[in-house]
Amino acid sequence: MRQLAKLTWVEIKLFARDPLTMVFSLAFPVFVLIIMAGVFGNTPDPEGKVWAGVGPMDYLVPGFCGLSIAAIGFIALPIHLALYRERGVLRRLRSSSVSQLALLLSQLCVSALLAVIGAAAIVILGMAFNGAHAPVSPAGFAAAFVMTVVCFVALGVLLGAVLPNVQAAQAAGLALFFVSEMTSGVGPPREVLPEAMQQFARGLPLTHAAVALQDPWIGRGVNFTELAIVAGITVAAAVLAFRFFRWE
């Protein structure tokens, strides 16, 4: 417990000192949301066809909370772990009897904190300055948020474990992130994508996480199907991540 608390606190401080990672995982989704707000505002599509029939901001704010989590899971975490392994930091920690569980839990704690900060920025920006409405079911949104964080941390650790080095982690992470952003309904609305692309997006975890986050926010209730899919991905990724994690 003491190990975990110390490790988490040091990791938080290190993250705060690293402006590049900070900009990418926290500020990037915020910048994109500002652009989206400027382009689309929060007036619903008169025909009710896109943005799930609600205002673009109401649709995008919960989705962007997911995007911010995806930035942590796809980009920040795999690169962080690959770098630690490449530099011998993991080797150093291991020889001081740091357990794999403590190390991975500390990554979960730091990521959760970042996700909350990122989401707070997005929600404040959306609601206070761009007319987004408050979530219809805050508890449903919170549940989906927690699930999404755990899911992407597991995916991030898995990527960090299986990708051989920092370059590979950067390439794979950025590719996954941008493909997810464009097709998972957290940029262009899902409805405008061609059918084939929508099919493809169903294979991406962010698509399911985004719907799970959006539905309780816009009044469609908790989407148990999507939550179950996210949970399934989480379990699979966590088992594989724990199995394939390498110290060196």
């Binding site: 190990q3 110390k6 290190l14 530099r87 150093r92 001081s96």
Partner: protein
């Protein structure tokens, strides 16, 4: 002889077809500085990594503090300290943070501030790891190996990157650590370090141990003996051949080389003075661990 704190028997580790450690056996006694000396690639690092439960050996028996690294790795790592090659800290981690963090991994509460000043790191406390020089990093990594007050500490090429003064200071500090009762296993390819610092030494070559003894024991067993060198213009030096302990006398112009053993320097010097020869360049060359290594393995350390 007391029960050894580390015992290694027939340790073997291969990577595919490459045999890193062939058949390695040695024992370390409590409270000594035990060295593994050998050229790069001799299998020293792989061996100590197996002993520290960082690698799985293919064969052999290892016990450290009565624990088996294969099955009791967690318990073992809490009791030992290690300074590894190719290990580092995050660039933005500060010196004091590193010590504070690794102290938190120790089984009991430890005072890392005393350690920080003993290793001359207090003036660097707020400096980030990425901004430390090679020698400063090395000092921090050694301090981290000691922060959990280990019973056994493994130091792998610990003076790499240190200048000669810092190297000597490090040796003094390591002796102090030993004097407080800690057992030290030192991996080095640096002859002077092995000779000056180790209480006992194993010479490792191609995954095997070729000799184990005290540095003095290894050197004095060297038949090459002692060479006394000086310059003299006097023609007749035959009187030296009658001196005790003297073997051969060779000269090349003014340069004279007397080969002998034991206290030959004092005996030769006395005889020279008696004959009115007082060379101001009289010096002695003793066999070094390099000679020992060459004789035992048939090749030089640098091959």
């Amino acid at each position: 002889m007391p029960k050894p704190i580390i015992s290694v028997e027939h340790l073997r580790k291969t990577y595919g077809h490459v045999v890193a450690v062939d058949d390695l056996s040695f024992q370390v006694q409590e409270g000594e500085i035990f060295g593994l000396l050998g050229p790069n690639g001799a299998g020293k690092t792989t061996s100590v990594e197996c002993i520290q439960a960082l690698r799985h050996p293919d064969g052999g028996e290892v016990r450290v503090l009565g624990l088996d690294p294969r099955t009791q790795s967690g318990e073992l790592r809490r009791l030992i300290g290690s300074q590894l090659q190719q290990s580092a800290l995050p660039d933005r981690m500060r010196v004091w943070e590193a010590l504070d963090l690794f102290a938190a991994f120790a089984p009991r509460k430890v005072d890392w501030r005393a350690l920080m000043s003993a290793w001359g790191l207090d003036t660097l406390a707020g400096r980030a790891f990425g901004n430390l020089s090679g020698g400063q990093r090395q000092r921090l990594l050694i301090a981290l190996a000691l922060v959990n007050q280990p019973k056994v500490v493994f130091l792998d090429e610990m003076t790499t990157g240190l200048d000669p003064a810092a190297r000597r200071a490090t040796w003094d500090l390591i002796r102090e650590v030993r004097d407080r009762g800690c057992t030290i296993v030192l991996v080095t390819h640096f002859m002077e370090e092995a000779e000056r610092l180790c209480d006992r030494l194993a010479i490792v070559d191609r995954g095997r141990i070729v000799a184990t003894d005290t540095p003095q024991g290894l050197i004095s067993a060297e038949p090459a003996g002692v060479r006394v060198l000086f310059s003299a213009t006097v023609k007749d030096l035959d009187f030296l051949k009658k001196v005790d302990q003297v073997g051969q006398v060779r000269r090349e112009g003014d340069r004279v080389e007397v080969e002998g053993s034991g206290p030959v320097l004092a005996l030769v010097a006395t005889e020279l003075v008696k004959h009115g020869i007082v060379p101001n360049d009289l010096r002695v060359e003793r066999p070094t661990l390099e000679d020992v290594f060459l004789r035992l393995t048939g090749h030089s350390m640098r091959d």
